[in-house]
């Protein structure tokens, strides 16, 4: 049911009481949202909590949803707000943990070996490490682009940053990822 309907139509239908519309919507976006949270927060328990909280808030706000706002933007904006709150709360303790994780990864034996041709496994691993090392804002911009497929303007709308700022964050993110591959 509802597979040919747009996200916005489904959301409006759910606001009108159509539960099947919500289920379709949920199936479409559960994976993307979860991966965004998982890669942004890097802890499964946090990702689980904010995943549920994001949907709860969306459900609570269903009657205020207006189709002028793209559904994906609406959903990710809720998630991003929660992420920002979480980071603000956890910042002091997260930084230690983060530093240790990065150092552990840097000390991994594979990275000590100068390999010119990286295996695919190694490439994936390095990308994962590079993502974890990115500063929060760059990581969010990167994930919104790559995981959720959003454009500069949409990313700017969600994060509250200007178009050029978003572009610059993506540029820095890319540079850091490249640096990780070059190391």
């Amino acid at each position: 049911m509802g597979s040919d309907q747009t996200d916005e139509e489904l959301m409006l239908a759910y606001a009108g009481g159509d539960l099947l519309a919500f289920e379709t919507l949920y199936r479409r976006h559960r994976g993307t949202l979860y991966r965004f949270l998982m890669r942004t927060l890097r802890h499964r328990a946090d990702a689980d909590e904010l995943f549920q909280d994001t949907w709860s808030r969306l459900i609570a706000a269903r009657e205020r949803y207006r189709p002028e706002a793209k559904f994906t933007t609406f959903l990710l904006q809720i998630a991003h707000n929660l992420v920002v709150d979480r980071f603000r709360r956890l910042k002091p303790q997260a930084s230690d943990e983060e530093t240790e994780a990065v150092l552990r990864n840097l000390d991994a034996p594979e990275s000590d070996q100068p390999e010119r041709a990286l295996t695919e496994f190694e490439q994936r691993r390095r990308l994962q490490i590079a993502l974890e090392e990115l500063p929060e804002e760059q990581r969010v911009a990167f994930l919104l682009r790559i995981e959720s497929g959003l454009g500069l303007d949409e990313i700017g709308e969600i994060t509250g940053a200007g178009r050029e700022t978003v572009k610059s964050r993506l540029r820095y993110a890319l540079a850091r990822i490249r640096a990780r591959f070059a190391s």
Binding site: Y14, G17, Y26, W55, S56, I59, A60, L127, R145, R178
Partner: protein, 284 residues
């Protein structure tokens, strides 16, 4: 990695890095989360009520408002009353005999009776702004004099009734009592008058008094009004930008608790809106 520009990322699929990213483990939410979310969505539709968390926040807001209101009332109730504090204006009374009095009792109550009969009429002529409303009720305001409220223990007996009314400027200020205290005092007065078998007020006059009391009490207390669910509901009617401006106003007025409650409700009501950095500290 050949990607050198964000344009690479902005291509469909995100270029080479996008391809690599998609080969990373694809995390999926666990089943229990699926069940929890779908159950919540179903509950929301079937109950037609906001989800539990939102009701909870409104409940807490209301409770906090009540506690603050009670605290404020208690505090005001313990403040010493100044000489200038007087009863609210009332309208013309009518005389209702309640019980027969013997001669001594009659003499004993004669003066207070006259005072009581005259006072409300004069009280119905508050200075300045309150005058027009009371004009109808007080038919002969020039023949009466405002009577100060008796505070039994500390106040002297009211002065005897005089035939000339003071000019409006000499009239007492409209009110200085908080509404609830004035209500109590009014009740005490009423019972005194009933005991004496003399005076009671017309319903319209009582309503006028209540209106005056309410407006005056709010007029004085507005800077320290406690937050309440009513105010939070009013905030919900505001547009998001106005709401945030209102939260800032509350902060500037030093009403941090209410600003916090209001902002929390804002986040619940508009989860997709970004909370400005200057207000975020309220959420922590």
């Amino acid at each position: 990695m050949s990607a050198r520009d964000p344009d690479d990322l902005l291509r469909d699929g995100g270029g080479e890095i996008g391809d690599l990213y998609r080969r990373l483990p694809r995390y999926e939410p666990p089943r229990r989360l699926d069940r929890a979310v779908l159950n919540e969505a179903a509950r929301a539709v079937h109950s037609g009520k906001p989800p539990r968390r939102q009701r909870w926040i409104i409940g807490v807001g209301s409770a906090a408002g009540l506690v603050l209101a009670a605290g404020l009332a208690w505090r005001i109730g313990h403040e010493p009353m100044t000489e200038n504090e007087v009863v609210a204006p009332t309208a013309a009374p009518r005389v209702v005999p309640v019980q027969p009095l013997d001669e001594s009792s009659r003499r004993k109550h004669e003066a207070p009776t006259r005072d009581a009969a005259a006072a409300p009429a004069s009280e119905a002529v508050p200075p300045a702004a309150a005058q027009p409303q009371a004009a109808g009720a007080a038919s002969e305001p020039t023949q009466t004099k405002p009577m100060r409220r008796q505070r039994a223990e500390s106040r002297p007996a009211p002065p005897p009734m005089q035939s000339e009314a003071p000019p409006p400027a000499a009239a007492p200020p409209p009110t200085a009592f908080p509404a609830d205290e004035r209500e109590q005092a009014k009740d005490a007065d009423k019972s005194q008058r009933a005991d004496a078998g003399i005076v009671t007020q017309a319903p319209g006059a009582a309503a006028a008094e209540k209106r005056a009391a309410t407006s005056n009490a709010f007029g004085r207390a507005s800077p320290t009004l406690p937050s309440s669910s009513v105010e939070l509901q009013r905030d919900m009617q505001l547009a998001p930008s106005q709401w945030l401006a209102h939260v800032r106003d509350l902060m500037q007025q030093g009403r941090r608790q209410q600003a916090t409650e209001s902002l929390r409700l804002f986040v619940r009501t508009h989860p997709d809106r970004r909370v400005p950095d200057d207000l975020r500290e309220l959420l922590e």
